[in-house]
């Protein structure tokens, strides 16, 4: 066999090995969560809030954490979207290709992306103390928005940068303004990518424990106002796995299963949405 053919075969095997390792890890994680969590996953887990003695093994469920997580990540994603889309459109449609300013903004976003979420949590906590706020849904939403923002903007920025320059010029040639071009053409063309960016950020937000630990707190009730504390699934997993009682630990895995299914659903949903929204996109 020729040397080049050996190279080809070795490269192929290495790639398959890497993929196998990755797929195996995902499979093992899912298997662990399902095997350990499924037995404890009762209807009561999904539909009830913790009752007295829940953390010692008595009745109730984690509805507080499910709803709390959806509130937190939903709110955080909404706030992040409101800020991200203008930033991404500005970077993509208003700055010149080699603009120094855009370079600085992108660098800042990359640095923000790399900051650990516990630092966001501590930062949010400091500000909340300075403002005299207590741990609350609002605090959690704002810190999650901050955590999600760089992910969302950079993901949007990447897809917006893929828009062919000639496509943008097509609208300008008709006499469209830059804003009309950005809102009507660029967003439509990149809609699948924008949806993916939003759901990617949502997935990051709903799975994060450290940023909501101080800022949203934890409670056994479902919050009815923005100023009340809110529970979240990652913290539900953390607290329950930390107890010495096997049945409570098992509920921790059940909570992890719920979280995983939620993230999986969001990720599959984003695929489906992207395929649907891409119908009109120019290739």
């Amino acid at each position: 066999m020729k040397k080049r053919h050996v190279e080809e075969a070795v490269a192929r095997i290495l790639m398959l090995l890497s993929f196998g390792l990755l797929a195996g890890s995902l499979g093992l994680i899912l298997l662990t969560v399902v095997v350990k969590g499924a037995p404890a996953l009762t209807l009561a887990m999904l539909t009830q809030v913790p009752q007295g003695g829940y953390y010692l093994g008595k009745g109730g469920g984690i509805l507080n954490a499910i709803v709390g997580s959806l509130y937190l990540a939903g709110g955080g994603t909404a706030v992040a979207l409101l800020l991200s889309l203008p930033i991404a459109l500005y970077l993509g449609s208003y700055t010149r290709r080699r603009s120094r300013w855009a370079l600085v903004v992108r660098l800042a976003l990359d640095v923000l992306w790399g900051i650990p979420s516990i630092v966001y949590g501590a930062f949010g906590f400091t500000i909340m103390i300075a403002l005299g706020m207590r741990a609350s849904l609002l605090g959690g939403i704002l810190v999650l928005a901050l955590l999600e923002l760089p992910i969302m903007v950079r993901a949007m920025d990447e897809v917006i940068r893929m828009v062919p320059a000639a496509l943008g010029q097509a609208a300008l040639a008709l006499g469209a303004t830059r804003l009309e071009n950005a809102l009507h053409i660029v967003t439509r063309q990149t809609l699948p990518g924008l949806a993916t960016a939003v759901l990617l950020a949502f997935g990051r937000g709903i799975g994060d424990a450290a940023s909501v630990l101080f800022t949203a707190g934890y409670t056994d009730r479902i919050p009815t106002s923005l100023l009340q504390p809110a529970a979240s699934l990652p913290l539900a997993v953390f607290f329950q796995l930390g107890t010495p009682f096997p049945e409570v630990q098992q509920r921790g895995y059940a909570a992890a299963l719920v979280l995983t299914v939620l993230v999986l659903a969001v990720s599959l949903g984003s695929r489906w949405l992207a395929a649907r929204l891409g119908r009109y996109a120019v290739k």
């Binding site: 000639a166 496509l167 010029q169 006499g175």
Partner: protein, 249 residues
Amino acid sequence: MDAHIQVQELSVAYGANPALKDICLEIPRRQITVIIGPSGCGKTTLLKSFNRFLELIDGVRLCGQVLLDGVDIYGPAMDATEIRKRVGLLAQHPYPLPMSIYDNVAYGLRIHDIGRQDADARVRRCLEIAGLWSEVKDRLRAPATGLSLGQQQRLCLARGLAVEPEVLLGDEPTSALDPLSARHIEQRLLELKQSYTIVLVTHILRQARRLADYVVFMYMGELVEHGPAREVFDHPREELTRDYLAGAI
């Protein structure tokens, strides 16, 4: 000559590289003017100075005047979007907007707020003029990207006509198309010159001969010769023009 566009002492540079040097030119109304010349001679730069597209490029410097009906389009009170509404552009490669066939044509109407009541009729008329109506009338809501390249270019023509321009610019509008689709576009342009001033850039001499009423020959950023097509093609005054027409440069 009834000049629709007058170019006065126009010079353009990309950074330190001059692209157009001191161009003076008049473009006749309701005729097809074809700009010819070897690659890199400034044909497209000249064309894009007519709809203020040059300012979209980094580091462009422009001096001189381009008058549209006697008014400088680079004047301080002029709005680039208004100029681009009056001076349409058919690009080299057709890029439909990411919308349905219908919306591609209706988009211009919407942004300029024209024809609220009779949008359907306007869309139909533009598609008819572009010679596309019979092919798309049963799938107006389908994505424009489903059309063939030739159909897409005719859609771009219809889209440009919808905003009621006075001038149509074409930047090698048939170069991405197969010969049949190219003929189709040429035919439309010949019909359209009854009502529009058309300026085309092409590197296909035979196409220039087929379409041109008026010819502009450029070389290395300079205007070498311009005049009625028959004069320039049959009796070129300049040595360079003769060489180019003979295929020597």
